[in-house]
Amino acid sequence: MTEIISTLHEFFQFSFVRYAFIVGLLIALCSSLLGVTLVLKRFSFIGDGLSHVAFGAMSVAAVTSLTNQNLIVLPVTLISAILLLRTGQNTRIKGDAAVAMISVGALAIGYMLMNIFPTSGNISADVCSTLFGSFSILALKPSDVRLCVIMSIIVIGTFIFFYNKIFAVTFDESFAKATGVKAELYNTLIAVITALIIVLAMNLVGSLLISALIIFPALSAMRLFRSFRSVIICSAVVSVVCAAAGILLSILVSTPVGSTIVVADLAVFLVFSLISKAVRRSVK
């Protein structure tokens, strides 16, 4: 035990480890807050879809050798998020199909561009690292950390400020509209902060695993808790704890950061499911 602590202590001497820790926890917190809403609105896969869009945009940025990738990635993802979430209700292509279509389309275009205009010798390593996050989280610059902190504050602040509205719009959009709540506006707001989180989270777990950060804490919390507020709080706690455990574990046993976090989330989900089954049985 003391050995583990001293190893961790040693690692935390490095600024890149501290950066990764801060960014990881913030992103986990943000994604879990929105996750509850997205899961309940039946948009669990929006994380997947949007992150593939971000992947496509990223490869465009790489090909045109833009130094600041976020200049392209952020706006493209934002626009896709708004289009997806707003047209979800009354379009010819239904929500899940639209998400799937945009997701695989962007993935294909991104991969194709990276192959036609290779920027580095090892394409499959490039692709693999954008898809699975790999170790780019351990190569964060102070400016990245600053950006992440600012974005997280915006996301968390918006969520708290509009908490009641987000609840009303998620629970019953037609009632909210009928009583004069601007449901469209809040849906767009949810879309915008979802896109922000996804662009941020791509560094952490990569675009294939983002859905896990969004849905696992929410699903785990819904197993055990019964009011919206307690589900949100539990989901946030679970997500932060799993992210912390995942990052520490990945340092200790040198596993990939992203997938370790996701495995931790999965483990918590299984434990919570078992507890909820046991509780239900004892009630009966």
Binding site: F162, F167, F171, F175, K177, A178, T179, G180, R226
Partner: protein, 240 residues
Amino acid sequence: MSIQIACKNVSLGYEGSIVTEDLSFSVSSGDYLYILGENGSGKSTLVKALLGLKPQISGEITRGEGVAAGQIGYLPQQTVVQRDFPASVREIVLSGCLSKSGLRPFYTAAERASANAAMERLGITGLAKRCYRELSGGQQQRVLLARALCAAGKILLLDEPVTGLDPKAQVDLYEMIGKLNSEGVTIIMVSHDVGAAMRYASHILHIGSHKQLFFGTAEDYAKSSVGRTFIASEEAENDD
């Protein structure tokens, strides 16, 4: 008795296609209006127009004081999302107060008190901390009624509220709505249950495909040829 909503020669529909036209009727305070009609006769379009979510193609809808768009308590049909939604009864009832709160991010003490009063009125105070998805269908509808009362105390618009409830719960809900009506709340009920309409309604609006078939008091409806045919056909269906 003051007129709360009056429709004059109103036509409704979507771009290029008219769903129903020439509707003329009015609702006064304390009325219990049933809007009857087959599926596809434009009931839900009319609901949207009454709520102010959809402009009419032609004609005029006038609204009295306190019943502007956004001030009608609405009980929508249940959605799939709600069936497994983790939310406490109190959270849902409170969300009815939201329309009055503007940009304010939290509820005031007055709003909390009005939510408590609404729960008291519907006899669900004991359920306040329970989870919505674990309640029976009838209890869920009471919760949504309490929420509608928080949003608007003067007039409620209910869209097929008894669908999916067992007969006992249906009767309970009708009794509850009747009680609210006798306390002075105007009720507009969209339904195809003509039997309940004859029992509870003070006025009836019957819309057929594309046009208004009847508007008047419930007694007149029972005597009218439209009413007699519809009542007979529904009874025959129920006997099957």
